[in-house]
Symmetry: C2
Subunit: 578 residues, 2 copies
Amino acid sequence: MTYLYDDPARFKDDVIGGFAAAYARYASRVPRASGFVRNGGPRKGKVSLVVGGGSGHYPSYAGIVGRGLADACVLGDVFTSPSAEQVYRVARAADGGAGVVLAFGNYAGDRLNFAAAQERLIAGGTDTRIVYVTDDIASASPEEKDKRRGIAGTATVYKIGGAAADSGYDLDGVERVMAAANAATYSYGVAFGGCTLPGRKEPLFTVADGQMEFGLGIHGEPGVRSAAWMPAADLAAELVGALLKERPSDADGRVAVIVNGLGATKYEELLVLYGHVDRLLREAGLTLVLPEVGELVTSLDMAGCSVSLTWLDDELETLWSAPVDTASFRRGDPSSFPSYEPVARADADDDPEVGEAASTPVSRQAAVTARQVLSAMNDAVVANEEQLGRIDAVAGDGDHGMGMVRGMKAALTAAQAAEHGGVGSVLRAAGDAFGDRAGGTSGILWGILLTSVGVSLGDTEAVTPERLAAAVRHGAETVQRIGKAQIGDKTLLDALFPFVTSFEGAVAQGRPVAQAWADAAAEAVRAAAATADLVARMGRARPLAERSLGTPDPGAVSMGIVLTAAAEVLKASDTCNN
Amino acid sequence: MTYLYDDPARFKDDVIGGFAAAYARYASRVPRASGFVRNGGPRKGKVSLVVGGGSGHYPSYAGIVGRGLADACVLGDVFTSPSAEQVYRVARAADGGAGVVLAFGNYAGDRLNFAAAQERLIAGGTDTRIVYVTDDIASASPEEKDKRRGIAGTATVYKIGGAAADSGYDLDGVERVMAAANAATYSYGVAFGGCTLPGRKEPLFTVADGQMEFGLGIHGEPGVRSAAWMPAADLAAELVGALLKERPSDADGRVAVIVNGLGATKYEELLVLYGHVDRLLREAGLTLVLPEVGELVTSLDMAGCSVSLTWLDDELETLWSAPVDTASFRRGDPSSFPSYEPVARADADDDPEVGEAASTPVSRQAAVTARQVLSAMNDAVVANEEQLGRIDAVAGDGDHGMGMVRGMKAALTAAQAAEHGGVGSVLRAAGDAFGDRAGGTSGILWGILLTSVGVSLGDTEAVTPERLAAAVRHGAETVQRIGKAQIGDKTLLDALFPFVTSFEGAVAQGRPVAQAWADAAAEAVRAAAATADLVARMGRARPLAERSLGTPDPGAVSMGIVLTAAAEVLKASDTCNN
């Protein structure tokens, strides 16, 4: 159980507030973002390592911000990826001009959001690389290592990357060595019991009495294989045996070892297990380098543990052994790192894309319309929540309506809160909130869509029909590029692109915006209905989708519904009736 | 639940083995003892800080051995004090010649065992001081701070003492500053759920759904006051409010703050609580110095947390802020401490009192008799287990028979394992095992009794009747002095002292040892029966005893039983029939 909280919906924010108060000696908050930047950073000429993911994994990620490790971290809600907007803001605040590496565990939501942030950072002139960690051997075969999840091996990969960045590696070098560390890192874990989210009474999963589950997830996912409880000696043999089977052919026998506890499996237990792990690895002829036994990547109060091996070469060993000084992970004397000249930090407030102060009256007027549009969209998804759930339940988990309502409500609230912003700021705030709160892939893509449109429209220029058309085109293409789905994959794109094409065409013909939008929305609704005739081609964004013939895609349907709701507002609006 | 273990009875040993394997870079095992000495120690001219207590509290105590903190730690079984013998062995191994401070939380068992070890260390020429920590404000009134238990505030007191010792303070100075730190340290905690011992299915206690208990213990004791669950903000106000009520009059407003998790109450929760604690303390005008939020003193997988404040002056602030480098607690650069020349470590093997190699044939022959005596004593307590339990159940918890059986069995096993030892080594091994395994005050005192007799008899000289009489006299007086009970307090002393007096008198009159022992044992049995007529005077060793008139003291009865069993062996033995 989780017992210490106030409003469960604000848990992440309260955690961030507590960390900021306790560990001001290590890091400070990024204004208007759920994240921290290392004290004294960013620094001139130093690559910045930005790590992140959902909350609930402390000391990952705030606890590992500091010298020799991360320059910054960005935190989502519990077990939820931070939004692309949040990643973008934190990375900008951490950028010292030598480039940024965004690092995270391999989960669909994180990949989407960090990729969207990467695009914007690159567009803004910051060379940005992505390293996602794939250490969990239980989650995919050795041939598909790239599809494996990131669990406690993230700690080693980040440590090695952080040491490289602080040692003066350039961006290519940090990216290369982190990729090498990830390729060399293998973890295997076991779950004894699930964790309980703040405010909930029941754990996310349970393990039957006397049983355990191999292949733990760190977000409340159950294991992949059940087994009867076994003594620590036998468990160690299972875990180590599986890890040694994947020993890389070029490994010379040096390994970094982590025995990680998930939360409720405590230190003495981990030490008992480590005793066996240590013996088995030595019996296999290996040399153990600075093992760590403790809690590096937790999952609230989950019961379970994992063993991680990173096969070291000279370079990786040097970096694994390098000093580090963070709130949770300290080793050696970090003053041995070269020092860098600090540079002024680009906080969100300084961001020309965000600054409310820089908005013009004409953009603020457009923002009023944008809020009305979001309000109408919200009404529409609330009215259709049950229907969307029913459609989604045919081939999915039936939560699409609920997710859209959660996202739209959050987007509307955020848009209303940004009361002095131009239209760009308002839509970015809405997209940020949508991506944060809706959950699921479609929530993330909706967040990216709203944010991209906001970035395109900006806070100064008037929203002409041509600029609006270009903005929705840009948004749709961003969603497609980040989501990696194709038209015809039975996704929201199947409604969005027909809308964009129709709207662009009508605008080019000089038709009134409201009419153009209404006609395009009708086109989207027709296209959404037509997805019933498609068989999903299992696009990369939805690797597990098995959509049945005869049922339309719920994401496409909700897209049609909200675009139609927007049309009603535009008809009544002066701004767009020119 | 505890899930990772092999044989639950060997849990402590397996933990120690795992720590030794994982953290050889910080500490190494003391041979034949459950403890660790810091690498490179002991050092010439440096006071040694030895901390210890039961297992189940990691990172206390092995995790805090290292530069700037403890020189050594000694570990008992889960939630059980280490035996006096173990404390003695570890402290000897840590002694660099400048004196030793033994530090522990204020629990009856720890006080008895550490006091017994202190006696022997002083007798052996090592100036030894004791500091026990009394930070838990829930466990006694402010007027009785000396009776309070030690919980997470131990972390601050040890940290300050360790910094003083590494900074070059002399023994008086380290003792003084640790006493000052303890006087300045106040903790208050709350429990949400009990922990589960290795191998058990049920927790040591449960907290009703929706409830919490203020005043947690760290050994599975329930709280002292139940309350309905409350949000973190309200809980922080309760905890901080109670702590601020005890602000010392001379405190200038600087405080070290620890928010400590007991095991299953995780980091993000602790950070949420810390956010409120921080705010409340600042609102009270305080200056917070290097707060720590995490797990410093755990209780297996117990759910709960505590807040500790240490009111700092210049000296305490300097020491709290000083560098430290241990497996679990690191801060700053410890190379700033003065360096000391290492001295050869006195391990148990080098101990002239222990060395089996140094035993003489005559002493080894006496050891054979000692083993036979222990075997007969074991048979006797097994035969009387139920009866002893019944007597104990009248006014106690009914476990006296079980404890005696556990202790005697362990003592016998240890005596048999010391197959090449003289009588002194055999009895010391027996006493060590008895104290470790029996549990409870009488188990500890039995351990001290056997060990003291063994120390007196040694491994070289013949066991003459006079030496035997002097040894049991020394043993009885040691038990009385350490246990702080008086004759007539309804304890095992009420049978032991009549035995000693009778035996001494008979020996002085030149009567055969076996007969003298048998008569004295009969005296002990009569005296034990007569305790039925005593009303316990609530001796300090048994502060909670309320023995009813008409029931004999179970400890005195079992003393009579085992002394009688020994008489049977002596009658048949050549060694003592001279």
